[in-house]
């Protein structure tokens, strides 16, 4: 399902803001509040995009990323990191693990996240190419 997006984020505020913004624009949004729940959600449903925080309880974002890229069922789903970590070390690590993009929350806005999502999966109204 191309238009469905999973946002793995432990902070309710962020999860809620982004989920609202994206649903308002027609995307089907699911959120998971830690890495383990995120992996479970990924097993149940096919997503077009995963937005991933890095500092998460139980299983970190890096671990989720690693797990996803090793599993043939999830390895092709684009993952965009949406975190407040911003060091070169973290960016390189995320990239090496297969993240397609890296957004620093504090330097971005919900509208920019929406634009990025549209760029990657297209608008929900778009016919699937």
């Amino acid at each position: 399902m191309k238009d469905s997006i999973l946002y793995i984020e432990d902070e309710f505020f962020f999860a809620n803001t982004i989920a609202n913004k994206l649903s308002e624009h027609g995307f089907e949004m699911d959120t998971a509040k830690n890495g383990t729940l995120g992996i479970e959600a990924l097993k149940k449903k096919k997503y077009g995009l995963v937005l991933l925080d890095l500092i998460l309880p139980e299983m970190s974002g890096f671990e989720v990323l690693e797990h996803m890229k090793q599993d043939p069922a999830t390895k092709d789903i684009p993952v965009v990191v949406l975190s407040n970590l911003s060091s070169d070390e973290d960016r390189e690590k995320a990239k090496a693990l297969g993240a397609s993009d890296f957004f620093v929350k504090i330097n971005t806005t919900p509208n920019e996240v929406l634009a990025m999502v549209r760029r990657i999966v297209g608008s929900p109204a778009d016919p699937t190419p």
Binding site: F14, T17, I55, S86, S87, R91, I106, N107, T109
Partner: protein, 521 residues
């Protein structure tokens, strides 16, 4: 007859001379373009010559040779002149008291010339004194020189003390006040014996203890806390002294052991101590690295913790602004948003400043349209541009592409444009010009802002450096943006620079980097 006592005194003076000259070279190499650094270097030259003559004089085989070498003591007049000059230079009063400087140099040359013409008025003879086979005997001209040496620096010293009570650079000047006093407390002990007071000139040998901290004060960008700086300077002085002393001791010990113990070869002690030094060095280095790591980690964690609530405020405010239909709450929310943006910028700066940029992490190369980025950044600065009625314009033939790390190049453009807008008074202009030249792209931002004075142009890309005009125009800057920009442009194999006709006359900041785009045949 060379006694052990003489050897110790001469070795101490030799050590002092070498350390001072070494510090001169070190300070010079730190920033050969900075006047103060060059001046410190010049200051160490007569000091070194003085110490060299002090060491060589007593060792001369004959009286006539000894006389010739001790005569070099006349270099004291130039030590005096350079001390005066250095005192004015550190207090920034060099230009105001040019007349005093000229007079000091004039007197120095006059005494020097008189001594050359009438050498025996300066140094009537060299005679055995204390444990020295030859030491100076003072003639009337020597007395004149000594009086000059002791009195000429009084006036600049008073001026330095006065300047240090003012608001500008108080801590730094207080530091120099203390260090010059220390130097003058140690230096003149050698003179006592010249005037037949039986005081061992050994006490005059730790002169370097006064000069190394002065060198440190010159190269340290900003001295925040006088106690901390004193502690640090003392630490550096003692470390340099300690290491050199230790090496000298080793050589001595080695000779002694090789002499006494038949089973010790000349290389035994060096190899053993070399290995020991390596181990100690490693331990110290790892402690130091650990310390740095903890510091970075602490700041990373602290900024991250701050970022979560800050992002929530920022995102929340955005939603609030979008949702506000009424003018008043919307305006209020916008104002809070500006404050929150400022807070975000500050945490970003703290974060960036503490990141190690040791080239460990690669820069990505992607096709970046500089004009697109410029338009984005101008849009972000929109409210400020409108508020200050600044005429912002872009002069290009079309998009200018470059293969670069987009995020970093964006930061450079942000720094350029933000500085231009912040430091340009109301009603001014900011012009962006970008074009290709050969295999490079040149990007420049010209403004009608506060400009940069000649002396400050060299330091403007240094970390934490802010020009005086910039401090007056915007009290909130930190002085990291341009340093970061320079680092980024360097890593792209480019050049960065600025031109300004002077303070208040606007400036142009530019960078040029290889565009890295293969020409299509």
């Amino acid at each position: 007859m060379i006694t052990a006592q003489l050897l110790v005194t001469l070795a101490s003076h030799a050590f002092s001379g070498l350390i001072m000259l070494g510090s001169g070279f070190f300070v010079l190499l730190q920033n050969p373009k900075k006047k103060l650094n060059v001046f410190y270097f010049i200051f160490t030259i007569p000091l070194f010559i003085y110490e060299a003559s002090f060491v060589a004089g007593p060792l001369m085989p004959s009286e006539s040779f000894a006389y010739g070498v001790w005569f070099i003591n006349i270099v004291d007049v130039f030590i005096t002149a350079t001390v005066v000059h250095l005192m004015f230079a550190v207090s920034g009063l060099e230009n105001r008291f040019r007349w005093y400087l000229k007079a000091t140099y004039g007197v120095a040359f006059a005494i020097f010339a008189a001594a050359i013409v009438y050498p025996h008025l300066f140094l009537p003879q060299v005679v055995p004194k204390l444990y020295f086979p030859w030491y100076l005997d003072a003639g009337p001209l020597y007395v004149v020189m000594f009086v000059f040496f002791m009195t000429a620096p009084i006036f600049p010293y008073i001026k330095l003390v006065q300047a240090s009570t003012g608001p500008l650079n108080r801590i730094k000047l207080e530091y120099f006040v203390f260090m010059f006093a220390l130097g003058y407390a140690i230096g003149p002990w050698n003179f006592a014996l010249v005037f037949d007071y039986q005081i061992d000139p050994l006490y005059g040998s730790p002169l370097w203890l006064g000069t190394i901290p002065i060198a440190y004060g010159i190269i340290a960008d900003q001295l925040f806390d006088i106690r901390l700086v004193l502690k640090r300077a003392l630490f550096y002085s003692l470390s340099i002294g300690g290491i050199t002393g230790f090496l000298a001791l080793l050589i001595f010990l080695n000779d002694y052991l090789v002499d006494r113990l038949p089973w010790i070869q000349f290389w035994t002690v060096p190899i053993f101590t070399g290995a020991l030094a390596f181990i100690v060095g490693r331990v110290i280095w790892s402690k130091f690295a650990e310390n740095e790591r903890v510091k970075y980690e602490f700041i990373t964690v602290a900024t991250h913790k701050l970022r979560t609530p800050l992002t929530q405020i920022s995102w929340g405010l955005r939603e609030l602004v979008e949702a506000s239909k009424e003018e008043k709450p919307r305006e209020l929310a916008l104002r809070i948003q500006q404050a929150s943006n400022r807070l975000i910028e500050l945490t970003n700066i703290i974060f960036e400043a503490t990141q190690k940029d040791d080239g460990q992490y690669s820069y990505t190369k992607e096709k970046v349209g500089l004009i697109g980025v410029t338009k984005d950044v101008f849009a972000k600065l929109g409210h400020l541009i409108i508020e200050k009625r600044i005429e912002a314009s872009i002069h290009v033939d079309g998009e200018v592409y470059v293969m670069a790390d987009e995020r970093r190049i964006r930061s450079v453009i942000e720094v350029f444009l933000e500085n231009a807008v912040v430091y340009t008074p109301e009603g001014g202009f900011v012009q962006v010009i970008a074009y290709e030249k050969g295999n490079r792209v040149i990007y420049s931002v010209r403004d009608s802002g506060i400009g940069v004075s000649g002396a400050e142009r060299k330091s403007i890309f240094m970390r934490f450096y802010r020009t005086d005009a910039a401090k007056r125009a915007d009290t909130e800057g930190v002085g990291l943006g341009l340093a970061m920009a320079k680092n980024i442009i360097d890593r792209h194999g480019g050049r960065i620079g600025m031109e300004s006709p002077g303070e208040g006359k606007g400036s142009t900041f530019w960078f040029s980097i290889p565009h890295g785009i293969e020409a299509v045949p």
